[in-house]
């Protein structure tokens, strides 16, 4: 590894970090505006024109609040919990291919931090350890409601991970690779996986909502039953980190969904362009797809009521997993037929 590569990778990591945080901050503003629009209100409009400085005001407020640790809480785990949540939310962005190679200063710069040959498994690995942040934080608070939230989060995540994995396997079967870069490149132009795997996309989308703890699957923090769920005892920036990590993972999972099913940075008619112009347009197309997914996720939150816990388990185990398995079997048969193995 030469020095130039080290510098460009570090710059990319820093840039991704800042973009993820910035997007997450403005997602909170966007969500409040969208909620206001859906509910026929005005929404935040005090800080700056159209309330555009609202995220900064919110962030400052979070920092200035008293940082409180309950007396009977497990101090270290209480502090570590939000950190784990934020870490797992941020680290996934390292395997996402954000665009084709960019040519700067006579060097081809890959817009993917790590072209891991098992990128999709890395994403699942990070998703599966993401639950620790919530579990540890909820348990360490030493509060019954927090514990309920933590237990709900873990059972929900374990149940929905299965259907998520099985629905994503069909994409691996179609593209024949576990690398996210290969998966994106196999969807050149408008040859997107969504046209081959609508059922898998549907399952993947629902399970992503559940993994994100977003409505209608936000039982771990369900206000009407559990006060604040796993973050009941949290205050100040620790609470801020939990809320922030939810928005960051929403951004990243919107990116993952567009990579797996909507062609990533590919867009129809991309062959007419080349070089840096193509790269910039690809990044713009990818950003547009991510924005649309974030919009849909928020739209769902303000439209559909929350599930009951037994309905959640019923949906996960008795509907999504069987449908995902049947979908996987059919895909397997079709792939085998096309390859001439049958």
């Amino acid at each position: 590894m030469d020095t130039a590569m080290l510098i460009e990778k570090s710059a990319l990591v820093l840039l991704l970090f800042l973009i993820s945080l910035g997007v997450a901050a403005y997602q909170t503003y966007f969500e409040r505006k969208l909620a206001a629009w859906i509910q026929d209100r005005v929404g935040p409009d005090r800080a700056g024109p159209f309330g555009i400085l609202q995220p900064i005001a919110d962030g400052t407020k979070m920092f200035l609040k008293e940082d409180f640790i309950p007396a009977k809480a497990d101090k270290w785990l209480f502090i570590i919990g939000p950190g784990i949540s934020m870490f797992t939310a941020l680290i996934t962005s390292s395997v996402i291919p954000w665009g084709p190679n960019l040519n700067l200063f006579g060097r081809d710069i890959s817009l993917q931090v790590a072209d891991f040959n098992i990128g999709i498994l890395f994403v699942f690995g990070v998703v599966s350890i993401g639950v620790y942040g919530i579990m540890i934080g909820g348990w360490a608070s030493n509060n019954k409601y927090s514990l309920y939230g933590a237990i709900r989060a873990s059972s929900q995540m374990i149940s929905y991970e299965l259907a998520m994995g099985i629905s994503a396997i069909t994409i691996v079967m179609l593209s024949g690779s576990l690398s996210l870069n290969d998966i994106v490149q196999s969807q050149h132009g408008i040859n997107w996986n969504i046209f081959y795997q609508p059922v898998a996309f549907f399952i993947f989308f629902i399970t992503s909502l559940a993994e994100l703890n977003r409505a209608p699957f936000d039982l771990p923090e369900c206000e009407s039953e559990l006060i604040g769920g796993y973050h009941t005892e949290y205050s100040s920036m620790k609470l801020g980190l939990y809320l922030f990590s939810e928005y960051t993972s929403m951004f990243v999972s919107a990116a993952i969904m567009s990579v797996l099913f909507f062609g990533g940075y590919n867009f129809p008619g991309m062959d007419a362009f080349s070089g840096n112009l193509l790269a910039v347009m690809c990044i713009a197309a990818f950003a547009l797809k991510i924005f649309l997914f974030i919009f849909v996720i928020m739209w769902i939150r303000w439209t559909i009521p929350r599930f009951r816990f037994d309905q959640l388990m019923h949906l996960g185990w008795k509907v999504l997993i069987p449908v995902a398995i049947v979908n996987m079997l059919i895909t397997g048969l079709v792939v085998a037929w096309n390859q001439g193995w049958m």
């Binding site: 098992i118 699942f124 599966s128 350890i129 991970e161 019923h314």
Partner: protein, 171 residues
Amino acid sequence: MSLQMISVILGSLTIASALMVVLSKHPIRSVIYLVITFFFISAMYILMNAQFLAIVNMIVYAGAIMVLFLFVLMLLNLNKEMEPETTRMSVITAVIAGGTLFLVMITALRDTFQYGKGYVQAPVQDAGLVEQLGKLLFSKYLVPFEISSILFIAAMVGAVLLAKREKQIID
């Protein structure tokens, strides 16, 4: 840093966190140390260029099994008063059992020093990558692979049957 250095540092960290699993007083902390141990083991796999194994170790052990462990421990809410009493007899049996295991492990360690080439060797190109692993599993080790998957299916069917025995009506 050489490969040897990294493997020595990683190995000592692994052993330290594994010791903390046994030594820490609180069961929840033990589980968290165990998760950390699994991460170090995953790092060891990556050092040997076995990325697939590393990630699967992370997904299956750290991500699924340990979450279930933590889940059960949180529900039990164990504390000092609920700890079972240890009699002199149980201490002696535990020491004998642990000592025997330790002896076997030391013998195994001696064997690796005698026949192996020390610590980690420089990774063979592509050896642990998923393509190579898949080809091996579906050619040389096909029969053991299929038999173990049948074992898994049997276990799963058994678990479902056990859970289903009580007729629950949830509407």
